[in-house]
């Protein structure tokens, strides 16, 4: 077996090793271990994507056992894209964190546990993206959840602990529900490998209703962890109470990881129509999320809450792909390419937006949006970052958000389900409303006082770079569409219920 074929395992092992190392390493070294690991991880992720484009998808049998007895990792196009997204945003978050957490401040980052938890979260996110086993998804969900809760509560003040407890509750509820679902599924089919399950479920059989209930529970659990309306109650507090780099990682990556598991289960494993009404329900909730999240974002007065509600809205777009399942392969490739594009571009823009929001908060010494007047003059780079990330939130060209909206709208209209396109258009307008409300404050005068930029310059330019990457991401659409087509997710499109 060539070294390239081992990449999926390496992508899990490398950050795991780094996590252990940062735990042992002293305060002077841990950040460099994390940085080194971030660079290695990014290189591995690029190599994985390159290999997937080169040789197509492949399965990696952990320990050589092979499914159904062992656990398989699946390296396909969508997985490679998500791993790459985790790597790029992860690298940016790591660099940002080295400037954000002062080495000489003993309490600033959970007594140094930030790096350990962060590397651990990276491990589990990679695992979540690469696993091909329905039970292994559960394991990864738990690991992501534990590290994410730890990171969210890192500040240790009352607000952070309250938000963390809420987040923990959502996580536990989701994990238990998922476990129940996967147990039902296993008892009905005696299988846990998603690719095999796809065949088994398509054939149908005596255990069909049990399997359907199991899948419904698994989906419900993932919906809760992805914070789809109405299961979003935990997200705004958890994402806004966390330290800025953590907010960025949670909003940009963690909800995407659980969403990816959902893609695998609903599109890759379950034949369309197997669970009656499931796909349409997900689409409806997605549309509601777009509208509801945007309206909430419009009403927020604290900057991080505002950004977090924008995430609630943006997550909705990702669910428009599900009601289209079962359409022809060309329509599905447009739709799947669209949501992958959205996930990636939103990940880039949202991490940039959270970093900029956190920096604005620190500079102005308040999180009150109405006291950030004149930021366009006094903090032009941060304001520009908010504006450019905003273009992505609105889905205006040339951002990747435009590409995803266009592809999803076209796919919806092609299947005759034009109402999803209307929801997408409305969502763009609402996003413009909430983004420009904030930008108008920043452009208005007279300027509020703000502290000079004390931290390293990368605190300003790094988020701008992320927002710029998102702004031109529509030109990455050909690559994303190509990756979307590699692997079993699209194959499901051809099967009619």
């Amino acid at each position: 077996m060539s070294l390239g074929a081992q990449l999926p395992a390496l992508l899990v092992l490398a950050p795991l090793a780094a996590s252990a190392l940062t735990f042992i390493a002293g305060r002077n070294v841990d950040r460099y271990v994390a940085l080194g690991c971030a660079v290695v991880n990014t290189a591995l992720a690029v190599a994985l994507a390159a290999r997937v484009l080169d040789v197509g998808a492949w399965r990696y049998e952990v320990g050589g056992w092979g499914a159904p007895l062992g656990i398989d990792l699946v390296a396909d196009g969508p997985a490679a894209l998500f791993v790459l997204l985790v790597a790029v945003v992860g690298l940016a978050v790591t660099v940002f964190a080295t400037a954000y957490f002062h080495r000489d401040d003993p309490n600033a980052y959970g007594n140094g546990h930030f790096w350990t938890l962060w590397m651990f979260m990276w491990t589990s996110l990679n695992g979540l993206c690469l696993t091909g086993d329905a039970f292994n998804v559960y394991v990864c969900l738990e690991l992501v959840g534990i590290s994410a809760v730890g990171l969210a509560a890192l500040k240790g003040d009352a607000r952070a602990l309250r938000a963390g407890a809420r987040y923990l509750f959502a996580n536990m509820l989701a994990a238990m529900t998922y476990l129940l679902g996967v147990a039902l599924l296993y008892s009905a089919t005696a299988n846990l490998d998603m690719a095999m399950l796809r065949v088994v479920l398509a054939e149908g059989g005596p255990g069909e209703s049990g399997a359907a209930v199991g899948i419904a529970l698994m989906v419900a659990a993932l919906v809760l962890k992805t914070a789809l309306v109405p299961a979003h109650f935990w997200l705004p507090s958890a994402h806004s109470a966390a330290p800025t780099p953590v907010s960025a990682a949670l909003s940009a990556l963690v909800v995407k990881g659980t969403y990816f598991a959902l893609l695998r289960i609903v599109l890759g494993m379950t034949p369309p129509g197997f669970v009656p009404g499931l796909n349409v329900l997900l689409g409806v909730l997605g549309a509601v999320a777009i509208i509801w999240g945007s309206i909430q974002a419009l009403l927020q007065t604290r900057i991080k809450q505002f950004v977090a509600y924008s995430t609630v809205a943006q997550i909705g777009y990702l669910f428009i792909v599900f009601p289209l399942a079962g359409a022809g392969a060309d329509v599905m490739s447009l739709a799947l390419g669209g949501v992958l594009l959205h996930a990636a571009t939103h990940g880039l823009a949202k991490s940039g937006l959270f970093m900029a929001a956190g920096s604005l908060m620190d500079r102005f010494g308040t999180d009150d949006l109405n006291r950030m007047r004149g930021a366009a003059r006094t903090a032009p780079v941060l304001t520009m970052t908010v504006a450019l990330a905003g273009v992505t939130m609105m889905g205006l060209p040339p951002s990747g958000g435009f590409g995803s909206k266009f592809q999803l709208a076209t796919a919806s209209i092609s299947t005759g389900q034009w109402w999803w396109a209307v929801a997408l258009g409305l969502g763009g307008l609402l996003a413009a409303a909430y983004m420009f409300r904030v930008l108008a404050i920043m452009l208005s005068g007279p300027a509020d006082a703000l502290a000079p930029a004390d931290a390293a310059i990368r605190l300003e330019w790094l988020p701008l770079g992320l927002a710029l990457a998102a702004l031109f991401f529509v030109f990455a659409a050909p690559l994303v569409n190509e990756l979307a087509a590699i692997g079993p997710l699209l194959a499901s499109g051809a099967v009619t219920p």
């Binding site: 266009f406 529509v474 030109f475």
Partner: protein
Amino acid sequence: MMIWLPVLLPAIAALSTFLLGERRPRARNTLNLIAAAASVGTVVVLVIRAYGGEVAVGAIPMMSDLDLGVHSDLTGLLFSTVATVLWMITLVYAIGYMEHAADQARFFGFFALCIAAANGVALATDPVSLFVFYEILTLTTYPLVVHSGTPEALAAGRKYLLYALTGGTLLLLGNAWLYALAGPTPFTPGGALAGVETHTTALRAIFFLMAAGFGVKAAIMPLHGWLPGAMVAPAPVSSLLHAVAVVKAGVFGIIRLINELYGPALASSLGVAQVLAAFAAASIIVASVIALRQDDLKKRLAYSTVAQLSYITLGVALCSPLAAAGALAHLAHHAFMKITMFFTAGSLAETLHVKKLSEMGGVARRMPVTMGSFAVAAFALAGIPPLAGFASKWLLGSGSVEAGASWALIVYVAAGALAMGYMVPILLAAMRPGDHGAPEGVESDPRMLWPIVIVAAMSIVLGLTAGLPGSPVHWALTAVAPAFGGVTP
């Protein structure tokens, strides 16, 4: 590569302007002027080649089988030339006008970005590429509208976004529907929808979605509400963007929509062009009547712009070669005439703090050259021969007859009379006695005066040379011919 320069050069100027910040204003101004001159040079070379039949094409892969594409066809180049040439002239004016203003880097940066976007709109090869640049234009204009940061400016900005982004969303839905129906549809003179003409209901709906999207910037009534409010922006913005780049991007979109996406034949057989023509005709009359009653000079000019833009929309919606050529020529002519007037309004406001007709007494004595230039532009706009406005209106009028729509001819003639009606009072107000506390004959800053003189002179030159190759009239006749089966009228 060269085909991208009209977009790239202003974008590079914008980027450098942002990076320079408020440091070294002299370097920033020089850099912007050099970029503008280089853009003009590029466009001129492209025009010469296009006249020789050589169309350059550039494309960047964007989505599955959609590219972001630009090409140097004559129709697009006409708009691009107008935008680029007037950018250079407006830059000189703006450097004088903004000398003591705050946030100049932001101003000049977004100003250049607007021109990059307008050039993209002009040269785009297909409706999706056009949409991309069209929305960038919306976004980059916003910081200029709200430049002063006052509550009034912010309110105008909100209104502008509400109109423009809603229009943009309709345009996006139209584009998505069209793509779902017909796949990629690159602009083709005479129509790009061969093979899907039978889907008449869908095509009608798509047309109205797109026309509404373009209609917002083209200020077709009742979608014009944002324009008078946006006059709160600094004078160079009102001049170049709200008389030329932004509003013309709207009418230009309609020109592409009818002549090169649907094709005049299909647009009129579907009955959609006639509906658009009716809206445009109503806009001409209503906006002209409203202009009669405006005391605020910039508002009066803004309503005049609404009317004049609909001259263009009506011309292209008549689906006749002469009227379409007149529309395209008027796009260029109106730009030079109206920018003269907005420059003048800016000079009056900046130098004399005069913003209303009722305060204008004595300004003709105080600034004879400025007001003389204004008078030339005003008469040109009203269609007095041999000035520029007459040439394009002659084409529009004869096109109306050619299309068998004599009602349109009546509209144009009536609108000409109304234009006299709202322009002449401005001149009379300027000649009333009044005192502005300074020696007579002292004009504004030379950087603001000379651009006015130059653009006013253009109104004369373009009218006198209307028959010669390279003039907007000749250019427009050549450019629209392929859309009507290649017959040069």
